[in-house]
């Protein structure tokens, strides 16, 4: 038992080291285009992790997370392209709008569960989308905001990539601490039985607001990273499909894990950008993969792999006795 866990841990550590190694070496291994894709996937992964913090750990599926990351991105974009403010002000306003949006939306959603939570967050995403189209003086409406340069020290694509890598890995570690913390444990309790949690003395409403804001904070970071990656923000970053993509990436990789959403994001980015060069009906392919995952691997790819792993381990430990 003990040895099995440590073997698993060892394998995971080796995988993490390989992943980090490739991550660090990427600009030297791959062309600019691929490095750009990895940046995009890392940011998408962080976004999906923020969705999964709610969906996987608390069981609250949100369809409005892009509204929060979008609010942050628009905050940065507005300060950069309309006000012409410096980077500290851009980032400060981005953080502020993102966190403010999380607070407002959290207050609206914290008393609901299940399908009602989905509906409310969906409506919240639509509100941001509607504003992005309506407030054209702030958002540039359909045309979006252009002219959002990156800070000079990280302007070259590969330097920006390293910034993204560092920030995403840091956030990932923070998320890792959060889900393993006392509060993280209480989130799992909330997912399993809100009734019980309340009867144990947990203020589940406050819990939900807090976790909603934590998730919103990481979505905000993702939104800010994305707007500087693209130098651009438009309503298509805050549409329902953008929020839904986060949920789907989490489901694809495996909900209730942090590595799952990241893997999901890499797969989606690969399908969207690489597979689509060779396959015309790539959206259908994407849909099919999801359906297959939802039907046959409820816990996503990570869940499926760990199931296979556990079964193999069991077979190994059963082998001596199986010679009947």
């Amino acid at each position: 038992m003990i040895r099995r866990i440590s073997l698993k841990t060892r394998v995971l550590l080796v995988l993490a080291a390989i992943g980090l190694g490739i991550g660090i070496a990427a600009p030297y291994l791959f062309p600019k285009y691929i490095v750009g894709l990895i940046s995009l996937a890392l940011i998408g992964g962080l976004f999906a992790q923020s969705v999964d913090l709610l969906a996987g750990y608390v069981g609250l599926v949100t369809l409005g997370q892009a509204g929060i990351s979008g609010a942050a991105a628009y905050g940065v974009g507005y300060m950069a392209s309309k006000v012409g403010a410096g980077f500290p002000a851009q980032i400060a306003v981005g953080l502020l709008t993102g966190i403010l949006a999380s607070l407002l939306f959290g207050l609206m959603a914290m008393r609901s569960n299940d399908v009602y939570f989905i509906m409310i967050t969906l409506a919240q995403g639509m509100i941001v989308w509607g504003l992005s189209i309506r407030l054209y003086k702030v958002t540039g409406a359909e045309n979006g905001l252009t002219g959002i340069p990156r800070p000079e020290p990280v302007n070259p694509y590969w330097k920006y990539y390293y910034l993204v890598l560092v920030v995403v890995v840091l956030c990932w570690m923070l998320l890792g601490i959060i889900v393993k913390s006392p509060f993280g444990a209480s989130l799992k309790g909330l997912r399993e039985s809100e009734t019980r949690m309340r009867m144990l003395g947990y203020n589940t409403t406050a819990q939900k607001l807090y976790v909603f804001m934590l998730a919103g904070f990481f979505a905000t970071i993702a939104g800010i990273l994305l707007v500087y990656l693209n130098g651009f923000i438009s309503p298509s970053s805050v549409v329902l499909a953008a929020s839904a993509l986060g949920v789907l990436e989490a489901i694809l990789g495996g909900v209730g894990t942090l590595v799952g959403p990241m893997i999901g994001a890499f797969i989606i980015v690969a399908i969207q950008n690489i597979v689509s060069i060779y396959v015309d009906r790539w959206p259908t392919l994407m849909g099919l993969i999801f359906v297959v995952v939802v039907l046959f691997a409820r816990r996503g790819l990570v869940g499926a792999i760990s199931d296979v792993w556990n079964r193999r381990q069991q077979e190994v430990s059963l082998e001596p006795q199986s010679a009947q």
Binding site: K180, S186, G189, E192, R198, M199, L200
Partner: protein, 249 residues
């Protein structure tokens, strides 16, 4: 009657769900350290009475005083924070988590650490002691690392109580702890409840009158939401009205 305030005072409480009167003018004064049973046939309103005490439903009429304060309108988590614990007739456990995780969530529930999110949860020190002692008390220490959904029904019933105990309550409401258990298991459960610390105030719902009467000092009998009798176990045993109600059900 002592001069001190009772630790729990249900004062003429009525609970209505639309047209249904589930609890009808019930009064109950529970002294610190005493053990009570609420008995009565199915649908008598026992669970609803618990819910009114815990705050899961609000009394339509009447008041609920806990620890000397009027808590008629307080939320369940506020009452739990003050020291009220409760178990469920149908287990409400964190099914996908291990026993230890279930216990840890409960053990930290009344401490500030429940909102700590920037450091890992470590099961050691006081939290470990609390978990260990509660599991020991309920004799499920061996299951510490088992996922709840893989435990037997009997073990889940024990964990149901262990979780409530881990919050270190002063008043514990046990809703049919022996529900769904075999006759043998019921005896074990009875012994477990009996062995709980004496300074813990317990109100127990039990369908099985014999078990209930062996465990407590005082008994309240409900039928159709109304109190039909109150007294010590011997008085209840010999109460003809109670016998009638039980025979008919």
């Amino acid at each position: 009657m002592t001069s001190a305030l009772p630790i729990l005072h249900v004062d003429d409480v009525t609970v209505r769900f639309g047209g249904v009167t589930a609890v009808d003018g019930v009064t109950l004064r529970v002294e610190r350290g005493s053990r009570w049973a609420v008995i009565g046939p199915n649908g008598a309103g026992k669970t609803t009475l618990f819910k009114a005490i815990s705050g899961e439903v609000r009394p339509t009429i009447g008041r609920v005083h806990l620890f000397g304060a009027d808590t008629s309108r307080a939320h369940p988590n506020r009452k739990a924070q003050r020291g009220l614990g409760r178990t469920y007739q149908v287990s409400e456990l964190f099914q996908a988590l291990t026993v230890e995780e279930n216990m840890a969530i409960a053990a930290q529930a009344r401490t500030p650490s429940r909102f700590h999110s920037w450091r890992p949860l470590r099961i050691r020190g006081w939290i470990d002691e609390r978990i260990t002692s509660a599991l020991d008390q309920l004799q499920i220490s061996d299951e510490r690392f088992t996922v709840v959904s893989e435990m037997s029904h009997g073990q889940q019933r024990s964990l149901e109580i262990a979780i409530a105990l881990a919050t270190k309550p002063e008043v514990l409401l046990l809703d049919e702890p022996a529900a769904g258990l075999s006759a043998a298991e019921r005896r074990i459960m009875k012994d477990l409840v009996e062995s709980l610390p004496r300074d813990l105030t317990i109100v127990l719902i039990e369908h099985d009158m014999e078990i209930a009467l062996e465990l407590v000092d005082r008994v309240l009998v409900l039928d159709n939401g109304k109190m039909i009798a109150e007294g010590n176990p011997d008085e209840i045993r010999s109460n003809q009205h109670v016998q009638d109600v039980y025979l008919k059900s």
